[in-house]
Amino acid sequence: MLMCHVKGCSTDNFPLRIEDAEMEQVEVEFNEDFCRRLINKIDWPAFVQTAFALGLDQLPAALPDDLDEEFLQRIHKLALETKLKAGRMVCNGCKHVYLITDGIPNMLLQETEV
């Protein structure tokens, strides 16, 4: 959902590459309807790429037509139950680094970047 927004950075600014990730599994209520709508909102290739890079899951390159509950549970686990506790999100375009600490991404830019 997050992308690089440094002024002038418009190519390769999404998805952000995640480095030194420290992950945590949390429990989030499963809501099938929410999960279905979420899938339509996320950028699927970026999601697949990120899940793979983090070594979490190998998802199909194309979103299946038929989204059964098992598949939705898989997405639920990845998108809602896997929390980045710490790490760095790096923009492949401009190399800006966004830090995550205590599970909170710091997306502030510097005054010279806006």
């Binding site: 997050l2 690089c4 927004h5 429990e27 709508r37 929390k83 997306m107 010279t112």
Partner: protein, 462 residues
């Protein structure tokens, strides 16, 4: 449609309708009433609801309603009520013939001594009820509402009620939640934390419910995350000030509040970012945006920019590798609000709601001040009055894809409905910006709210 009487709690009177309409949407209840029947001086409103079950459902998460009864008789005298009760078809009482029961006389705007209550209840003896009277745990309660209206001066209170309603009691609302979320009991608090009652009402008006996705872009200590997630929504918060989110390092923060209220399974997280330069990929993510924007009285509004008063940095990093805070400049309320509105018009799902507070100086407020957008319909504009200043809860809804852009005519319809206020609009004043923002007035009165606020002498006391 069957008729019912809603008894409101008589708190935040101006918000009663907005909440009621929202509850009907949330619970998928067909609700019919005439807005003109809702009076300032009375808590009672007669409504039509499709079924008894739905009438109960309507109160599930109501905050500004106290209770609801089925309406069997309405009259302006007790004698009239008794006569109508006598003539009710037998099948009305059939389900309760053998139930244990009690009568409850509920008086608004006056008092009725116990002996008088007993005397009045006895006059209902003719009813075909054979069950035993049980004052503690009756199977059914028959309620008589007596409305004397609110009178500021005790000598204006009439001797007899102005109107009465009679029928079986159905349900109480959920006002106990106000205690549950009471700020005094909350682990992590800030000076800007929103009062529990208003926060719950806002989550109702935002239609926060299971499966919905809610953002507070000015999350502070996270009041709206708690109440929206309480009602089932998944929530996210953002704030330019990470210290608000993280607290002071004593393990009291938004996360600990989520733990305290057992909502970690719905509060998804928080992000530190500036709404003026935010990182969200452009998609219709949220079903609701609920917030109390910074307006410089309690929490200063600022946005990232080179501040000519500060020295340029030699390095953006601290020795430990974390970033130094960026320089910021003041962020005028008018810009905060138009940025918020543009943001909402882009990021809300169609039909999604934006619910936020607009502070106003009462003397200079003009309904045209409220920033508008051609893709956002105004749903409500409710005032909370503090005398010289006020804040208004602005409720807007993003148009569905197939709906055409709003135009001046659409705005005029809102005026007729009493949402927008009565000041005449003038086509010449209206300007539509590139991204759809509509300006109805050149210099909205809240533009420099902070200065006005201090001019009226309120100082930092609020």
């Amino acid at each position: 449609m069957p008729k019912f009487v809603i008894c409101f709690a008589q708190a935040h009177l101006n918000f009663r309708l907005a909440e009621l309409r929202s509850l009907a949407i949330i619970e998928n209840v067909t609700l019919d009433f005439d807005q003109k029947d809702l009076l300032e001086q009375s808590p009672f409103l007669v409504v039509g609801i499709d079924t008894v079950e739905n009438a109960k459902k309507l109160l599930n998460r109501a905050i500004l309603i106290k209770e609801i009864i089925q309406l069997w008789a309405a009259d302006d005298t007790l004698e009239g009520i008794l006569l109508k009760a006598k003539n009710l078809p037998a099948e009305y009482f059939a389900p309760y013939r053998t139930s244990s029961f009690k009568f409850d006389i509920s008086v608004f705007g006056s008092t009725l001594a116990i002996p008088d209550q007993v005397e009045q209840i006895n006059r209902f003896k003719f009813l075909p009820l054979e069950g035993k009277i049980d004052l503690k745990k009756p199977e059914i309660v028959f309620t008589v509402y007596q409305d004397f209206y609110a009178n500021a001066n005790p000598k204006d209170i009439p001797d007899k009620p102005v109107r009465l309603f009679f029928g079986p009691f159905l349900a109480t609302s959920n006002r106990g939640l106000i205690q549950t979320y009471d700020l005094k009991k909350r682990d992590y608090l800030g000076t800007t934390s929103m009062d529990a009652e208003l926060s719950l009402i806002m989550s109702n008006i935002a239609l926060a419910r299971p499966g919905s996705f809610v953002l507070d872009p000015f999350v502070g200590t996270g009041s709206f995350l708690l109440t929206s997630s309480h009602f089932g929504a998944f929530t996210l918060g953002a704030d330019i000030d990470g210290r608000q989110i993280r607290g002071k390092g004593n393990n009291k923060n938004i996360e600990s509040n989520a733990v305290q209220y057992d909502l970690t399974n719905r509060i998804l997280g928080t992000v530190v970012c500036d709404i003026a330069h935010h990182p969200w990929r452009e998609t219709e993510f949220w079903d609701a945006i609920v917030c109390d924007p910074p307006y410089g009285v309690r929490a200063g509004a600022k946005k990232i920019a080179v501040n000519p008063k500060s020295l340029p940095k030699t390095s953006v990093l601290n020795p430990d590798g974390t970033y130094k805070l960026p320089q910021t400049i003041p962020y005028e309320l008018d810009d905060v609000l138009t940025d918020l509105l543009s943001f909402a018009a882009k990021y809300l799902t169609p039909g999604g709601r934006l619910v936020y507070w607009l502070p106003t100086v009462t003397e200079t407020y003009d309904p045209k001040d409220v920033p508008r957008h051609k893709r956002m319909r105004m749903i409500d504009n409710c005032e909370q009055d503090f005398g010289k200043w006020a804040r208004r809860l602005i409720v807007m809804e993003k148009l569905q894809q197939h709906e055409p852009d709003l135009d001046l005519d659409a705005l005029l319809v809102e005026i007729e409905k009493g949402i927008q206020g009565v000041n005449a609009l003038d086509e010449q004043d209206m300007r539509v910006g590139d991204d759809g923002l509509v300006t109805l007035i050149d210099n909205p009165a809240h533009a420099k709210f902070r200065n006005h606020y201090f001019n009226i002498g309120e100082g930092e006391t609020q």
